[in-house]
Amino acid sequence: MDRVCLTLPDSSAYLPLLRLVLGGVAARADMTFEAMDDLQLAVEHVLRGREAKEDQITMEVEMGDGRINVYLGLLSDAGLRAEILGRSRPATASMPLLHRGTVLRRLVDDCGLERETPAGFSLRLTKMCRCDG
């Protein structure tokens, strides 16, 4: 699988750059526009909803087998981790409509925690290239 890696400061000023890179990879993978948009929104929603800040964020994008895997890390947000693991229920989350487990289930085909370390964890988002509803 081809892999593209981007490390940048944890600042909202770099979000457009993240989206452009992700869009470029999606285009190479012949992903549909709707699938690409869902994936970009998923990445944005994960990153913008965090309570814990990092010095820098790494996004690795892997493409092949008709899908794109995005790895975001290392993240230290305990709330995000709990929501992804299903240990935080939407009803009791501080922002139920924005519960990341709920939102990601609609936006991506699969997500999970990868590579847990004392410094943080890496989050994987998987999206199929063809989004046919």
Binding site: A27, L47, P96, L97
Partner: protein
């Protein structure tokens, strides 16, 4: 030399004024027609009175449209000036809203490509019976894939001032906060969600609430939502992002100082 027997422009029929403008470039006739049609401009501008822009500004913009219409009008085409002028005035006002919606300076070429992509995505979705790829969109527009991605990204800088208002679907009147709560939730959790959701949802208009409900609770795709609500898929995407941003800022209390990714 002004003929003293000649009636002033204000007393002349519209057809005479139009002939004078076309054949003699009569500025007096032109100004008289503009004055006569200003009530039309005011009436059209007032339709957008609740869209966040001063009505006087909209009247000025609409007047530009009126002037363009008068200058371009061909009375031999067999239509009335009012019929011709109305869409020209409306188009000028809508272009004003579109330009006002760009939060940052985006080159005109990118703005225009973004607008074209809006139509192209809809057409390709019908033609291909699926969401188009970036390559499909680039080919349809005759530009590179990179330009498409750039234009799509520049579109994020666009805050669609809803010139069409929120009344675009009969669904919206029926939508209640309770509709967005999962059916499996217990009564207590229902109350909890209402408590957290209600204040935030008030910051969204009916259409934004409906779209969030359809996307994240009904699981509809953007294409399906676009067909249901009667707007373009790119517009659905913009509204989802905007609504999520509003909710996040309202619930989490993100301020302008929050610069995290």
């Amino acid at each position: 030399m002004v003929d003293p027997l000649e009636p002033p422009p204000r007393d002349l029929p519209e057809k005479v004024l139009l002939r004078r403008i076309r054949q003699e470039h009569d500025q007096g006739a032109r100004e008289e027609l503009i004055t006569r049609y200003l009530p039309l401009v005011r009436g059209l501008a007032r339709r957008f009175a609740s869209r966040g822009q001063p009505v006087e500004d909209l009247i000025q913009v609409g007047s530009i449209g009126l002037i363009k219409a008068i200058d371009r009008f061909d009375p031999d085409r067999g239509v009335e000036l009012s019929t011709y002028a109305t869409p020209t005035i409306m188009g000028e006002i809508k272009r004003y809203f579109r330009d006002k919606g760009w939060a940052v300076k985006v080159p005109r070429a990118l703005q225009d490509l973004n607008v074209r992509l809006n139509r192209v995505v809809e057409q390709l979705t019908v033609d291909l019976n699926r969401s188009p790829s970036i390559a499909d969109m680039a080919k349809a527009c005759g530009v590179s894939e990179e330009e498409v991605l750039e234009a799509l990204e520049s579109g994020r800088a666009y805050n669609s001032l809803s010139i069409y208002g929120s009344g675009t679907s009969e669904e919206e009147d029926a939508f209640e906060i309770a509709d967005c709560l999962g059916g499996e939730e217990g009564a207590y959790e229902l109350v909890e969600q209402r408590r957290f959701l209600a204040p935030a949802m008030e910051h969204l208009d009916e259409r934004e609430r409906l779209i969030l409900h359809l996307r994240f609770f009904e699981g509809m795709t953007q294409t399906q939502i676009a067909a249901r609500v009667g707007i373009s898929q790119m517009h659905v995407s913009r509204l989802i992002r905007k609504a999520v941003d509003v909710l996040r800022q309202t619930i989490v209390g993100e301020g302008e100082h929050d610069t995290r990714l």
